[in-house]
């Protein structure tokens, strides 16, 4: 036993990998009193943020004097150093984060004095902008801002974009139309471009060209999207959701350009990055192992998500022959009895000869009415998927010369249905059932003679709402199998409509000069497109991962798709899974621990 203690110094006391640091630029000036602690890069809805520490080398700069050196709103750019030389070391800098001082937090206790600067990217500024009103294209070509009108793109599927561009803030873009009868449809890219051009002054943010947005959104339509009262970020998110787009803010590399750019992307179209891990027993090599630790959480899978998108109820126009809606025992050959002028007790017989119904619920099939079976809608609705219930007539879809609906076109036959004449007197539409009530004070002579002969009939051309909605279902996996199917029903009655003039309408192929087009609508194509986009960009994530790297690396970006090289362990489970995509949702650079922490998600393709 010996009392001697030997101390050994390490032979190598240098780090094999140098620590990563960033340069901080405050309003374009390189400053040495701010040190980056953490940078978080993320797309919507979190966006980027940097945490800086106030650490002046000059001891005369006290923490409480921070406001004289840093103020909210000042521009911050964080640059990372990299070697631009090939074969010869040539350090250069590249911006990895840009933003504005959003807050200054101070902590002054007996054992610690710390000032933390919170820097947020351009999203913080856009969150402070409220969307309201409309920029209208006026006949003079000058934009006019109407603050009181809602900012709705293509409300209820009707176009409301101007055909000419307006010029504002040095940008030319499509605005809202002053005359909605002469309008174009906004598509998704145009709506996004309108918001950016209207609310982001030129020179503050690099925005993509309209052509780039159109190419990315694939010309996706936007229908009835109301962004009134939202902040600009939420408004953009709502518009982007129509095309499955996401966006983030990235630093702009140009010296003269604005420091930040807004970038729209689809995670499935982003670049690929490798995250590798060596096999057990190998000598650790940071060029072969990126991953230091992984924690993951798998959701229950496989599950098929079926998106059932429903629009409004289908509406069909048809010509309906009406039946008697009164007790035939009350019929008499007394003309005066059926007029309120000549009969004090008119209410007892008010329906006789006046109430004509469709009998859609079968209320008039039994005694004392005996008007036959309930009306069969199956031919008009193109299937038998309806329930026998009371409905009501809606105005016809066919329009007159002025472009508005002709309303309810009631015809009368004095010949038992062999010939029909327009009914020119007054009548009311019943609200509790499909039917009419003749409201003239006295029945005219022609009508009365037809009643006496038993040849009086009425028919009406109007619309009726079916029990079936316009809908489409799309699934992101197998259905009718052993895999569970989760149905997600999205009902958007204002956005998707179906209105059709059925072959049973007298106006189905009209050539009447007094009539114009019919107000038909079939948004099936748009609805299918919307359902597909929901399925493509569905929020269902099969797995969430938190990955920590061996060393801090500033090259990763949110949206990067994760893959693993062939030599690596498949620790993330991405090598052989070709049915899922895995991408980085959030990238957190921790300068204190010299690690990059990723939040990655997996989703079925």
């Amino acid at each position: 036993m010996s009392n001697r203690i030997d101390f050994f110094q390490p032979q190598h006391n240098e780090l094999s990998v140098g620590s990563c640091a960033v340069s901080v630029y405050l309003d374009g000036q390189w400053c040495d009193f701010l040190v980056a602690e953490k940078i978080t890069l993320a797309a919507d809805p979190d966006f980027g943020e940097a945490v800086l520490c106030y650490h002046p080398s000059n001891k005369d700069w006290l923490p409480e004097e921070v406001n004289s050196h840093v103020r909210c709103g000042q521009k911050i750019v964080l640059k990372s150093v990299y070697d631009t030389g090939i074969g010869v070391t040539t350090p250069d800098q590249i911006p990895i984060f840009a933003g504005f001082v959003d807050g200054i937090e101070t902590k002054d206790t007996s054992d610690e004095q710390k000032v933390t600067i919170i820097v947020k990217d351009f999203s913080a500024r856009l969150r402070r902008k409220m969307v309201y009103g409309r920029n209208i294209y006026s006949d003079s070509g000058q934009p006019v801002f109407l603050a009181g009108i809602e900012t709705v793109f293509n409300p209820e599927g009707k176009p409301n974009a101007s055909r000419q561009n307006i010029l504002q803030n040095g940008r030319s873009f499509k605005a809202f139309s002053a005359d909605e009868s002469e309008s174009d449809y906004f598509d998704c890219a145009e709506a996004i471009y309108y918001l950016l051009c209207s609310y982001v002054p030129t020179g503050e943010l690099v925005i993509p060209a309209l052509e780039q947005l159109k190419a990315l959104s694939g010309g996706r339509k936007i229908i009835d999207v109301d962004v009134t009262g939202l902040n600009l970020i939420d408004a953009l998110v709502r518009c982007c959701a129509q095309a499955g787009l996401r966006f983030k803010f990235v630093p702009s590399p140009g010296e003269t350009a604005p420091p930040e750019a807004i970038v729209f992307f689809k995670p499935e179209c982003c670049r690929e990055v490798e995250l590798n891990c060596q096999w057990p027993g190998q000598v650790i090599d940071i060029s072969k192992t990126t991953i230091a630790s992984v924690t993951g959480k798998k959701n229950f899978s496989p599950v098929t998500h079926r998106y059932i998108v429903q629009g409004d109820y289908k509406i069909y126009e048809a010509t309906f022959e009406l039946v008697k809606g009164w007790d035939s025992a009350l019929e008499e050959n007394d003309y005066d009895r059926y007029s309120p002028i000549s009969n004090e007790n008119f209410n007892e017989v008010r329906d006789v000869y006046r109430k004509w119904c469709l009998n859609e619920a079968g209320d008039y099939s039994q005694s004392p009415y005996n008007q036959g079976a309930a009306f069969d809608f199956s031919k008009i609705f193109e299937n038998g998927l309806y329930i026998r219930q009371k409905r009501r007539f809606l105005p016809a879809l066919t329009c007159g010369k002025d472009g508005t609906s002709i309303g309810y076109f009631l015809e009368v036959s004095y010949t038992g249905g062999s010939r029909w004449w327009p009914y020119m007197s007054s009548f009311k539409i019943l609200l509790d059932q499909c039917g009419i009530w003749l409201s003239a004070e006295q029945l005219d002579a022609d009508l009365w003679f037809a009643i006496l002969k038993g040849l009086l009939k009425f028919r009406i051309t109007a619309s009726v709402m079916a029990d079936e909605r316009i809908s489409f279902a799309v699934a992101d996996g197998p259905v009718n199998s052993t895999i569970d199917v989760v149905d997600e029903v999205i009902t958007l009655p204002r956005r998707f409509k179906y209105k059709k003039v059925s072959p049973y309408s007298i106006f189905v192929n009209n050539s009447d000069e007094n009539l114009s087009f019919a107000n038909q609508a079939d948004d099936t194509e748009l609805l299918v497109e919307f359902a597909q986009s929901l399925s493509d960009s569905g929020g269902f994530k099969t797995e969430q991962l938190q990955i920590k790297t061996m060393v801090l690396s500033p090259v990763f970006r949110p949206g990067d798709r994760v893959k693993t090289c062939a030599d690596s362990r498949d620790i993330l489970g991405v090598k052989y899974d070709n049915r899922s995509i895995c991408w980085l949702e959030k990238v957190e650079m921790d300068f204190a621990n010299q690690q990059t922490i990723f939040t990655a998600v997996k989703k079925r393709k």
Partner: protein, 225 residues
């Protein structure tokens, strides 16, 4: 496997095929299931011949040994890894410039250049120089900085530094000159290694001293608005 690794035509005995041991498979299949590291060379980054392998190395090895070049020659070598499937990475990250002097000896590189320099005129007709040093990929470990100037003559005296500062980690370094009487001065800051070799940096900081002062306000006028 990359198309350029096939050596079927030569039965795996082509110049590249031999280095990749493709003869084992008659040049038809990838024969390095553990992967390989390949070395290429060129005069500069634009004309590296990636069709001609200089030498191949096992993935676990970290030293390429190649014959020395001619004196006064200069080659850029690029190493690339190929994985177990014969798929090669496409980067220029692992690159080194090899330069030989007239005696055929390797020209040693030293510290990096000083990264960014700011100059500011301060009171007393003096100049404050402020700079930063990035130790990224430095060939030799930095020991200190030497500051040179021209004393107003227009030619910097690189033999006699006016000041020396020890390197003490990643931080801003400052130097304040003595009082400067001429209008224009040139400064140069060099990073120096422990063996006293420097980076021969010849970049100059040209400083034009401004001795003018803004005019005093002589009239202060007010009016009712």
């Amino acid at each position: 496997m990359e198309a350029n690794f096939f050596a079927s035509l030569f039965g795996g005995d082509s110049a590249n095929g031999t280095k990749l041991c493709m003869g084992l498979t008659e040049g038809d299949f990838w024969s390095r299931p553990a992967g390989v590291q390949l070395l290429y060379k060129g005069q500069n980054s634009d004309d590296i011949d990636f069709c001609r392998i200089v030498t191949a190395l096992n993935v676990d090895d970290d030293v390429f040994e190649i014959p020395s070049g001619q004196s006064l020659s200069r080659w850029l070598y690029v190493a690339r890894r190929v994985n177990c499937c014969g798929v090669e990475e496409k980067t220029l990250c692992a690159a080194v410039m090899v330069e030989l002097d007239s005696l055929g000896n390797l020209v040693e590189r030293s510290c990096n250049k000083v990264f960014m320099v700011d100059a500011e005129q301060i009171t007393g007709n003096r100049v404050l120089l402020k700079w930063f040093y990035q130790p990224i990929h430095q060939a030799k470990k930095i020991s200190r900085f030497k500051i040179y100037y021209d004393n107003g003559t227009g030619v910097i005296d690189y033999q006699n530094p006016i000041s020396s500062l020890n390197y003490a980690g990643r931080k801003f370094y400052e130097f304040i000159s003595n009082e400067l009487t001429d209008d224009s001065y040139r400064f140069c800051i060099r990073a120096v290694a422990a063996d006293d070799s420097d980076n021969d940096f010849t970049g100059q900081i040209i400083i034009q001293l401004n001795r003018q002062r803004p005019d005093n306000i002589s009239i202060l006028q007010g009016s009712v608005i």
